[in-house]
Amino acid sequence: MTMPTTLFDKVWDAHEILRGESGQSLLWIDRHFVHEGSFHAFNKLHERELSVARPDLTFGIADHYVPTLTRRLDAIGDAKVRGMIEQLADNTRRHGITLFGLDDPRQGIVHVLGPEQGLTQPGLLMVCGDSHTSTHGAFGSIAFGIGASEVAHVLATQTLWQSRPKKMRLTVEGELAPGISAKDIALTWIARLGADGARGYAIEYAGSAIRSLSMEARLTLCNLSIEGGARCGMIAPDATTFDYLRGRPFAPRGAQWEQALAYWQTLKSDDGARFDREERLAAAEIAPTVTWGVSPEEALPIDARVPDPADQRDAGKARQLRDSLDYMGLAAGQKLTDIVIDRVFIGSCTNARLEDLRAAAAVLRGRRSKVPGIVSPGSTQVKRQAEAEGLDAVFREAGLEWRESGCSMCVGMNGDLVPPGERCASTTNRNFKGRQGPGARTHLMSPAMVAAAAVAGRLADVREL
């Protein structure tokens, strides 16, 4: 009898080419995504006169720097921003890499595009020079972000050296209450375990609440794995996964689909498989959650109050609280629902899929936003689908801007910024100091909660609308 094995180990073992003397594994990479920021890696390759080992397994995507007001390269005012997009096109052309460029109807944020095009499949090992690559684990693949040196290594060899992480299972049992989403599950566990709580672990999300999540919600949950410090997050593929994948452009077809499906159905943790750590959450205890500070771990249910450093006995923690409150311009003990916002942003690889836009539009329909805001769909395809459903009209009638797809105001690289000192309710993934622009104050929450905040002009409980 073979030893019961975890999903993670099954996928890892299938990709292990060899194990070095030091114990690190050399892993085969099935899919490698590059974006505008990957230029350091291409430069490294060129300096050493190396070619791309497997251009057929490498995909270029323009997302980090793309404008959301136009799809025309020549309309980009900032020459350096334009240069970043041109550089990606040059590098992909030079090495024969497929590019989903600015004017491609399939363009989108890499972590929205991969699943949408069927490039993301169960059992793969996927990497990208972007920490939110953990998103793709929602299909039961191992997917994680890497730095530029590793990007260069993958380009040159289609392999990567890695130490096998420990395994943690995060089980969420029960039924999520109405108004509670995958974002709330993620912010809840990160607040409990800490922004480095899962450091050194690969997470498998399990339990009835996870099984009931749609593919899009699973992508949101796995996306945020990195915010808890995990190496990656994954969910065993099931009928939800297979139904989503069937018929996608890069998904297998015909007899090959059947062959793939037979393999994919083996991708689950065996009964009795051993995890290094087990964590549990009850779905019933998860409330709509928002961040109040400058790390995703600084999150609380919407009906709570901002923490008071005076209640904190640990001097270090009290100091950190004071620092966060100071940056965020908040008073200790104030009610979260009294926090007045200046703008909203609905977008990013975390929460800009069709289901996210539908959730926000359901709250905004027939209502007005009290503050300005931007909606940037996760991909050009999502934008088309949303328009076909009339969601664009809902957002526009609420007073929000309906833009093109890209990373946009999540990271501000394209110039979509929150002005200094302003407060933004955002569907994104990081509330770090200056993340949405110098001096910007970010509150993370689900799309429905951002919509509720827009209507109220302050942080609000979507369940009361």
Binding site: A89, L99, G101, P252, Q256
Partner: protein
């Protein structure tokens, strides 16, 4: 890459937790080529006020900070974005080592790939080192072979993955190491492709202009 054995130089105290990579280098500077030198972008928005003037009292603005090769910080240093530019900023400023109780996973690999030593110490030892440094850069010795850190009489141990230690001690580069295994990789790739024929089943590449 330059090997590291002993770093004997001033260290800067940075008594902050969760110094994420967005703080280490704000995104707006990442369009620049490395050749401009990323050191000036390091912790830019902590180092400068909203008018771009240096913040008096911030450690990197201390006259002796230019000589520093080690940075001591609190937990979860380098969390967040995978941007290797965060490491470039530290290295270009002159740092060869960061000491903290924990590091962002991707940051730590990026550091090692650029000859920057991420030395993990206990929370208590980090506090002791910060207390010993006080408010300004002070001499500190990092011994990678012995895995010890010393300031005056204070000496503490640090941990680092053995593979990373070897790489840093020798200044090794992964690409060279991997290319020695080219034949094994090729054999693996052939077998793997035959076991998973569906992975080649995508539509032909459509190359569009950016």
């Amino acid at each position: 890459m330059e090997p590291i054995k002993i770093i004997d130089a001033p260290a800067c105290p940075l008594p902050l937790a969760n110094v994420d990579t967005d703080q280490l280098i704000p995104a707006r500077f990442m369009k620049e080529p490395r050749s401009v030198g990323y050191g000036r972008f390091l912790l830019h928005d902590l180092r400068h006020d909203e008018n771009g003037r240096p913040v008096a009292g911030f450690i990197l603005n201390h006259p002796q900070a230019d000589e520093a090769k080690t940075l001591v910080a609190r937990r979860n240093f380098g969390a967040g974005s995978s941007r290797e530019a965060a490491v470039y900023a530290l290295v270009d400023f002159g740092f060869r080592c960061v000491i903290a109780p924990s590091f962002g996973d991707i940051f730590a690999s990026n550091a090692v790939n650029n000859g920057l030593l991420p030395a993990t110490v206990s929370e208590a030892d980090a506090e002791a080192l910060l207390a010993a440094l006080g408010e300004s850069p002070a001499p500190l010795r990092v011994d990678l072979e012995a895995q010890r850190i010393a300031i005056g009489e204070l000496s503490v141990a640090f941990t680092i993955a053995p593979t990373w230690r070897t790489k840093l001690l020798n200044g090794w580069d992964d690409i060279d190491m991997t290319r020695q295994h080219a034949a094994t990789i090729a054999r693996f790739a052939t077998r793997y492709a035959s076991q998973r024929p569906w992975l080649d089943a995508g539509p032909p590449p459509l190359i569009t202009r950016g």
